[in-house]
Amino acid sequence: MRIAMTNVSAVLALVTTLLLLIVVPGGAQPAGTLVVGLVAEPVNLDPAQVTDLNSNRVGRRVVETLVTFPDESTQIVPGLAESWTVSKDGLHYVFKLRKSVTFHDGTPLNAEAVKFSIERQINPEHPAAKIGKYPFANYFFGNVKAVEVLDPLTVEFVLKEPRASFLAVLTAGAASIVSPTAVRKHGADYPSNPVGTGPFKFVSWERGQKVVLEKNASYWRSPVKIERVIYRPIVEDQARLTELLTGAIDLIVSPPPDYVAQLESSGKVTMLKQVGAHVWYLGINNQKKPFDDKRVRQALNYAVNKDAIVRDVLKGTGTLSAGPVLPKTWGADSGLKAYPYDPERAKKLLAEAGYPSGFTTTLWVPESGSGMQAPVAMSTVIQSNLKAVGVNVQLQTMEWGAYLAKLRTKEQDLFALSWMAGNEDPDMVMYPLLHSSQWTPNGPNRALYKNDKFDELLHQARLTTDEKKRAELYRQAQRILIDDAPWIFVDHEIQTAAHAKRVQGFKLHPSFDLRVETISLK
C-alpha cells in the first residue's frame, strides 16, 4: 500500500512541478509591434478576390486604391491618383498617378499596373484572369468598357453608361492596384503573397496562427510609426477579450455587446465607437397583399419600438435609422425624422387600410450573416411589437446561404437584412436596394419596391456629376422613400473596438476598414 501511495503522490508532484515551471507572466508585446485580434482568420489577401471583412482589413494594409477616404470620413480624396477629370458626358474618367511611387517589390506604380489590376477581373482573356475568382467583378466593374493607358502616369476609364458614383466604386477593395510583376510571379498563390504600395509590406502567414506585416519604410503618404503588425484570428469572444485584458493583444474589434459597458468603465483599455456605413432593415414585400398598401407599411414602421431594439438588444451598438443613407453625410436629408414608436397610430392606419383586427404574416430571418448584428433577437422584438398592433408574425429562421437563396423566390412577406455599402455615396445603397431595375433575382432589391418618381430621381443623380445637385436629388428621393416606407427602417451599426492604453492615435473608420497605420505605440 505504501508503494502505491508514493506513486500517486509522485505523479501529482510531477504534474504540479511541470505546471509551475511553465507558468509565464502574461506579457506586453515588444516595442513597435502591434498585435490585433481578429474575429476570424483572413481567407485570402487579394482584396479583389475576397468578400469578407477580415480578409479586407488585413489585405488593404498592403494595397491601395486610386481614390480613397480620409481617416475620419468616407468623403473621396486622392489616393494613388493625385488628380482626375471627368468628361461632360460622365463616360470618361482620366486619372493622373502620383510620381515615383513604387510597389513593395521595387517595381514602379504606373498606368499599366492600373490597367492590369482592373482588367484581370473583367476580361476573361486576360493572362491573370484564370488565376483567381473575382466575385464582385460584375458588381463593381460591369459598367467599365475599357481601361486605357494614355501615358505612363495617366490612365483612362471608359464607362458604358454614366454613373456619378464611379469614384466611390474605385474606393472598394476590388479596385486595389496590385504589382503585375508579383501577380505574374506567384500566379494562383498571389493571394498568399500580396504586393502593393500600401503602408505595410506582407511578411508571413502562418495558417491558423498569425499574419505578419512590416512597415513600408518608404511609404509615400506619411511615415508609419509602428514596426510591424501581427493579426491573430481568435474566434471565441472570451478568449479575445482575455488576451486584450492581459496585454497579449493590443486591439480587438467588435467586443461582444454584453461586455461593452464593462470595458467602457475599465481603466485598462480604451473603448471606441463609430457609426459605420451600414443599414439594418426589415424588408417588406411591396408587391404582395396586404403590403402593397402604403398605409400598412407605414403602420408597421409606427408599430416597431426601434429605440428598445437599439438600447436593449444591441446595447448601444446601433443608432436609429430614418432611411438607408448614413446620417450627417453629404447625401443625407437632415430634416428626415425616423418613424416614432406609436402603436395607436399603427392600429389606426391598419384600420384605415381595412385591417382593423390585423392579419397574419411570416418573417424570414437568417441565424447570422455578414452585417446582420443580432438578427434573431432583433426580429423577436419586432415580432412582439407587431403582435401588439394585431399583426401576428411567424418567425422562420434560416441558415444564411439558404436564406439568401430563398429571397430570390420573391415569396417573402417580411425579411430581415442589412447592407454594408462601405462608403457614404447614396447611390451605393439606394440604387441597388431600391431602384426597380434591381429587383431580385437580378439585383438586391428584395423588397420589390417600385416608384417611378423615385427611380427617375436616382437615375438623374447618376447622370449628374455636381455633388450639390446630386445631394438635392437624393434628398427628394429620401422624402419619397420615407413616405412610401418600403422597409421598416431599424438601425445603422455602431462599430466598436477596444485597445490597450499604449495604443495611440487609432480611429475606427466608417467604411469598416481597420486603419492601423494611424497608430503609434507608447
Binding site: A4, V35, P135, G208, Q209, E236
Partner: protein, 316 residues
C-alpha cells in the same frame, strides 16, 4: 500477424469510402450554398451563376462526388473554395497541432485517470475515492467549451499564469516552454471528460481484479501491497482500460474541434469550423477524411497492443 495487419489495413478502404460518402452527402444536402455565402447580400444573379460554374457546383451530385473521389485516389484533396489553396497540405499542416493537443490530452487523461482509478480501488470508500467520484461527475458533466472558458478566465485573466489562446506567443515566442505554456489549458480542458471515464473504469475493473484468487495468493505469499495492486491487479485489469483509452483517442480527436475553437488552437478543428461556416466542401471533406483515417489507425494500434498486454491473444 502480418496477414492480420494486411487484412485490417485493407478494411480501411471500405470504412473510408463510407465516411467519404456520408460526409459528402451531409455537406451537400444541408442547406447553404458556398457561392451564396461568399457573395452575401450584394450578389447579382450573374455573379452567382458565374461563381457556381467556376466552383463546379452546377454538376449533378454523383458527378461531383466521382470527380472528387477520383482526385482523392490520386492523393489530391482538391482546392479550398474560399482560400483557393490545395486542401491536403493545409490539412496536414494543421494536423500536427491537433495531434499534439490530442496526444497530450490522451497522456494526461491516461496518467491521471489511471492514478485516480487505482487509488480509488486500493482504498475504496475512502475520502480520496469519494472526492474522485465527485470530481468525475463534475468532469463528465461539464461541456468542454464551458470548462475551457472558466479555466481561461481563472488561469489567464485572474491569475495571469498562463496564456489564454494560440499555440505560440505572436512575437518572439516559438520555444518549447512557450509551446508547453500554451498547451496546458486546452489539453486540460480536452482531457477532463476522458480522465473521469478512464478513472471510473479503472476503479471498477481494478476492484474486480483485486477480488480474484491470484491476488489472495499473492498477498498470502507476502508480496507487498503496492506490488500486488500494480503488478498483479493493474496489469490484469488493463485490457478493457486500453480499449476505452483507444476509443477516447477518437473522442479526443473529435472533441478537439470545440477546444481548438475556444483556445484559437491552429489545428484541424478550427480549420473545419471555418470550412463548415463557409460551406467550403472540399476543405471540410478533406479534414474529416484525414481525421477519420487517423482514428482508424489509432484503433488498429490499440488492437495490436492487446497481444503485447496479454500474450494469450493471437491474431490470425
Amino acid at each position: 500477424m502480418r496477414r492480420y495487419l494486411a487484412r485490417r489495413l485493407l478494411l480501411l478502404v471500405p470504412v473510408l469510402a463510407g465516411v467519404s460518402i456520408v460526409i459528402f452527402l451531409v455537406l451537400h444536402l444541408s442547406p447553404g450554398d458556398p457561392a451564396e455565402i461568399m457573395l452575401g447580400s450584394q450578389a447579382t444573379k450573374e455573379d452567382l451563376t458565374r461563381l457556381r460554374e467556376q466552383m463546379g457546383l452546377n454538376a449533378p451530385l454523383p458527378v461531383q462526388y466521382v470527380h472528387w473521389i477520383s482526385q482523392v485516389l490520386r492523393g489530391d484533396l482538391g482546392r479550398s473554395l474560399w482560400m483557393k489553396r490545395p486542401v491536403l497540405p493545409e490539412v496536414l499542416q494543421r494536423l500536427k497541432a491537433t495531434l499534439l493537443l490530442t496526444a497530450t490530452a490522451l497522456v494526461l487523461s491516461t496518467v491521471v485517470g489511471l492514478a485516480l482509478g487505482v487509488a480509488s480501488a486500493a482504498w475504496p470508500r475512502s475520502l480520496l475515492d469519494r472526492c474522485s467520484a465527485a470530481a468525475s461527475l463534475f468532469g463528465a458533466s461539464m461541456p468542454s467549451f464551458w470548462l475551457g472558458i472558466v479555466l481561461m478566465v481563472v488561469f489567464a485573466l485572474w491569475l495571469g499564469w498562463l496564456p489564454a489562446s494560440g499555440m505560440f506567443a505572436p512575437y518572439g515566442g516559438g520555444g518549447a516552454g512557450d509551446l508547453l505554456a500554451h498547451l496546458v489549458l486546452p489539453a486540460v480542458t480536452l482531457a477532463a471528460a476522458s480522465v473521469t471515464i478512464v478513472a471510473r473504469l479503472t476503479r471498477s475493473t481494478m476492484l474486480e481484479a483485486l477480488g480474484q484468487d491470484y491476488i489472495r495468493t499473492a498477498r498470502a505469499k507476502g508480496v507487498t501491497e503496492g506490488w500486488v495492486v500494480l503488478r498483479h491487479g493493474l496489469k490484469n485489469a488493463l485490457i478493457p482500460i486500453v480499449t476505452v483509452i483507444g476509443v477516447q483517442a477518437g473522442y479526443l480527436l473529435g472533441g478537439a474541434v470545440l477546444t481548438e475553437t475556444v483556445f484559437a488552437w491552429p489545428g484541424v478543428g478550427t480549420l473545419m469550423v471555418q470550412g463548415i461556416l463557409a460551406r467550403d466542401f472540399p476543405l471540410v471533406q478533406g479534414c474529416v477524411l484525414v481525421v477519420a483515417l487517423s482514428f482508424a489507425l489509432i484503433n488498429l494500434g490499440v488492437d495490436l497492443l492487446y497481444a503485447w498486454l496479454d500474450p494469450r491473444i493471437r491474431y490470425e
